[in-house]
């Protein structure tokens, strides 16, 4: 039964892709929920994670695992530096926040284009080999990617729900002025949030470029996918983003498998537009 095989493939590939999307979009929605910053450099953090890792592995011969950890940390630091130097001065002006972060994203894209070229790079795989599930051969890499995404999402939830810093972040996202009034250091909270958001993006980028390839155009592509997911899930709702990540993941892989790759983004975006026409607040959003 070829059909069952196809279904299994769509399910498994869709789940891994959905996991990767969940990492990138939950970070994006987290920083938006807390600080109302629409961070257009998020896609840049995503690809920087992959490219810094590739650079460390190829040029400095580091172990892929260590290189990945260093890369994630560097991207986090870069994000905090970005927040302090270019976002913080314009944070009161929403239009300018969009403009400076979008300019930064395109700037990173150009730097990557000039240093690495426009062709895709594959990230050295963290694990190789396959296992057979119900007659379908699945690479262990995909299972690892799915496991890492799910574990990270769980860790994010535990962090926000159980730790003091997480509760402060949650408080600031519900009422920024109230958070200031009860003496929380909102600046510190924003910096920590953008750090977390960026390391999620970098991790996502590393996982993505093991399955597919890293290329500079993914900066804008991933950003637009993250937007779509966040709108679909409802702005600022982390839960909504995670659920709609998997929805988009399945739609994406299903159209790629059944119709061909050039249709995938078109169909995914078209579906989102249709949903928005019917339900403009997204699946889990509330009207502001």
């Amino acid at each position: 039964m070829g059909d069952i095989n196809t279904l299994m493939t769509i399910f498994l590939y869709g789940a891994t892709f959905g996991g990767i999307l969940a990492l990138i979009s939950s970070g994006f929605t987290l920083i938006f929920g807390v600080s109302r910053i629409l961070n257009f450099s998020h896609g840049a953090f995503f690809m920087m994670g992959a490219y810094i890792g590739i650079y460390l592995i190829q040029q400095l011969n580091l172990d892929p695992l260590i290189a990945s950890l260093i890369s994630i940390l560097l991207v986090g630091i870069f994000a905090v530096a970005t927040y302090i130097t270019i976002i913080h001065p314009v944070i009161k002006n929403e239009v300018m926040t969009i403009i400076v972060t979008l300019a930064l994203a395109l700037l990173v894209e150009q730097v990557i284009l000039l240093t690495f070229g426009e062709f895709g790079f594959s990230y050295p795989e963290l694990i190789t080999g396959t296992i057979s599930v119900g007659g379908v051969a699945i690479s262990l890499l995909r299972i690892l990617i799915l496991a890492i995404s799910l574990a990270t999402i769980l860790a994010l939830w535990l962090f926000i729900d159980k730790t003091r810093m997480g509760k402060e972040i949650n408080a600031a996202s519900q009422d920024p002025e109230g958070a200031i009034l009860i003496g929380l250091d909102v600046n510190k909270i924003f910096a920590v949030t953008i750090f977390i958001s960026a390391i999620l993006a970098a991790l996502s980028g590393i996982l993505y470029s093991q399955m597919y390839t890293a290329n500079p155009f993914q900066i804008l592509n991933s950003l637009i996918l993250a937007f779509s997911i966040v709108i679909l899930g409802g702005l600022g709702s982390v839960k909504g983003s995670i659920i709609s990540s998997f929805i988009i993941g399945f739609i994406y892989i299903a159209t790629t498998t059944l119709l061909g790759a050039r249709w995938s983004e078109f169909i995914a975006l078209a579906i989102i537009i249709v949903i928005l026409i019917i339900r403009p607040t997204g699946l889990f959003g509330v009207e502001e």
Binding site: A103, I231, I273
Partner: protein
């Protein structure tokens, strides 16, 4: 009091600045080489992109990140109407037998279709306050780019297609220059007229305070959709004219770098001021396609990862941080404080 009269003097002077600018532009072709004239013609079209974007974002305060949708829609509509053979074997095949229409008419149709798309997007996204408009308009250009890839027989895929040299807006560079100059003058004067009418004041009132405007009985939703229609109509027209200027249409009309260049121009010039985007559009387009290309790029050693785009983006970040109201507002403030 003195300051207020000065402020009004600037307002009335604005129109004379505009006319002065057009006059200078009408005379300089005598002194300039043809290559520069060609770039200046493109600059005029770009200025209309900037002013029409500013009409929505600067005047009404809704951040439209998908202005290139309308530029592209206008461009593709006029291109297809001029090469109707492309409709053959597609789902729009009845259109393939369209007669050859005059170019001004197809450009106008491009603008009208772009305005219809703009009204539809506005009707859907402007219902909600907050960020939905910005986010939805940010993802839409990609949908249009992907559509040009998916329906390749119709739109020509990544390369686009040519409308043929015979369908250029004028046959020589000077002719093209004059057409774009006249076009820019008309578009700017119309938008300037709307901005300074009661309608324009209503739009500014909405930008300044949504809630207050609403409680004064202004239907902010309809006014925003109206502004969207004006903005997308002029974007569509200028996108269509651009296609007949360079005789090709391709997905780059939809793309993000063009969007950011428009934002850059308006931010540097000053949001919401008509004059600002003209100054910004003029400076930025010439900077990118003439000054940086001719005087900077050839002198950068290949080992350093810098190009003209990086210089522009850095400039944008610095300007956004140091003078968020733009050069024009800065100059005006300076004048008011003297």
């Amino acid at each position: 009091m003195k300051k207020i009269t000065r402020y009004w003097r600037i307002k009335t002077n604005e129109l004379s600045y505009l006319i002065g600018f057009m006059m200078v532009m009408a005379v300089i072709p005598i002194f300039l080489p043809e290559t520069l004239l060609y770039i200046l013609g493109l600059t005029f079209i770009f200025i209309v992109f900037s002013v029409s974007w500013d009409f929505m974002t600067g005047l009404v305060g809704e951040v439209n990140l998908g202005h290139t949708i309308f530029i592209g829609v206008g461009g593709y509509v006029t291109a297809l109407l001029n090469v109707p053979q492309r409709f053959e074997k597609t789902f729009l095949s009845p259109l393939a037998t369209l007669p050859q229409l005059p170019i001004p008419l197809t450009i106008l149709v491009g603008g009208i279709i772009a305005a219809i798309v703009g009204i539809l997007i506005g009707l859907i996204t402007l219902r909600l306050k907050g960020w939905y408009f910005a986010l939805v308009t940010a993802i839409l250009p990609l949908l249009f780019i992907k559509a040009t890839y998916v329906f390749k027989e119709l739109f020509g895929g990544e390369e686009g297609f040519s409308v043929g040299l015979g369908r250029a807006v004028a046959q020589d560079t000077l002719g093209k220059y004059i057409v774009t100059l006249v076009f820019m003058a008309i578009c700017i004067l119309v938008m300037y007229g709307i901005k300074n009418s009661k309608l324009g004041l209503t739009l500014i009132a909405i930008r300044e305070d949504n809630t207050l405007a609403e409680s004064l009985g202004i239907n902010i939703y309809l006014y925003k959709v109206f502004a969207m229609a004006v903005s997308s109509f002029f974007a569509g027209l200028s996108g269509a004219l651009l296609v007949h200027y360079r005789v090709t249409v391709s997905p780059d009309l939809f793309d993000v770098p063009l969007m950011l260049l428009i934002i850059l121009a308006v931010v540097i010039g000053g949001l919401g001021s008509i004059i600002g985007p003209i100054i910004g559009g003029f400076l930025i387009y010439l900077l990118k396609y003439w000054v940086l290309k001719v005087y900077l790029v050839p002198f950068i050693p290949p080992t350093i990862p810098i190009n003209d785009d990086i210089v522009l983006y850095l400039l944008l970040i610095v300007i956004a941080i140091t003078m968020p109201h733009g050069i024009y507002e800065r100059l005006r403030k300076l004048y008011l404080t003297i």
